[in-house]
Symmetry: C2
Subunit: 189 residues, 2 copies
DNA sequence: GTCTATATGTGGATAGAC
DNA sequence: GTCTATCCACATATAGAC
């Protein structure tokens, strides 16, 4: 019988995703995660042997999350609407993004910097890769074969830059204005 | 007689700027900085009472650095050339930026997240503010009064996003391609 | 599976001799 | 001004009783 166990494990994983997003990887303590999950601090190591295993769990969870977003945006008719739906999804999270930054970008930027955490960073950057591939596919459908990749990278750059500025100034406006600008660009493509 | 003192202090400040850029604020130890500066670890606290004081010193140093860059770019004849000179300066640092990310963006993103370090993050974001103001002034000279601010933000977003992608994938190419794209945009304005 | 107690290691910071 | 020794707080992780 591990019913309760699975429940606690997923509660810990969800809590880790939130707390690490809010505080960054390095500054979140295992006890922070336990507290957020409502799990006794002593029990944590039964589910996650190391702090790093929390990191991979969180990144895998983010990967799934963005996969689902892309899949949902893919339901729109036509590549323009699909791309703009994705941009809109990011804009809709602008308040949260201004508060804590982009969870993927934050992890990439924090974890790339040190040898002990590069593998985590690499795993996180795969989320970017998947988004870029998806965007590129949509742009190819639009007949932008020649510079589909660079355009895809442009879209992600603007979104990530806007998230960073919004976070730095604690102001969601940047995501609003740059997102709109981006949507206009896509429509005129 | 504080000749040697001033020397050591500035060596520590320079070392801090480099090491914090490379490892991030949280993961750099005071001893890392001392070692890099070639200063005995015990002497450090004579010059910098706390780790936070290293943070402010580094940010002030970055602020001066970017001020100087903007001033130099400002020597170009005409706002288009001035903006593109600044973009070029960023592109010229693409290898370093891919290795360790943008020092300003990295600090903003890392330090915003926790109450103990928000003041440092705020100070760091002032560097962004200065760049945005400078860009906006150039764009106004170009007659873009109506959306000069949003265009300025767009330029910084693309550069920061490109730096983040370059860092995440450890590949300076993103700064190259997005920088070029941005320069073309400015010329066609 | 859960919780208490604790080991272990580390990093920021201080006291004080020189 | 410089360096040694050390304090202290804290965070990851383990051992082991229940």
């Amino acid at each position: 019988m591990m019913r309760q166990g699975q429940n606690k494990k997923s509660r810990l994983q969800d809590a880790a995703k939130d707390v690490i997003h809010e505080r960054g990887y390095e500054r979140t303590r295992i006890t922070d995660i336990a507290e957020r999950a409502g799990v006794d601090a002593g029990s944590v190591y039964y589910y996650f042997k190391t702090k790093e295993s929390f990191g991979t769990a969180v990144i895998d969870s983010l990967a799934k999350h963005y996969s689902a977003l892309l899949e949902q945006a893919g339901l729109q008719p036509g590549p323009r609407k699909r791309i703009n739906a994705f941009i809109q999804m990011v804009m809709d999270k602008r308040v949260l993004l201004a508060q804590h930054g982009c969870p993927v970008g934050g992890l990439c930027s924090e974890l790339r910097k040190t040898a002990e955490t590069v593998d985590l960073a690499q795993r996180a950057s795969e989320v970017f890769r998947e988004i870029l591939d998806w965007l590129e596919r949509q742009l190819r459908e639009l007949g932008k074969a020649k510079d589909a990749r660079i355009l895809a990278e442009h879209v992600l750059c603007v979104l990530q830059g806007a998230a960073l500025l919004a976070h730095s100034f604690d102001n969601p406006r940047h995501l609003q204005t740059q997102g709109r600008r981006l949507q206009r660009l896509i429509l005129n493509l």
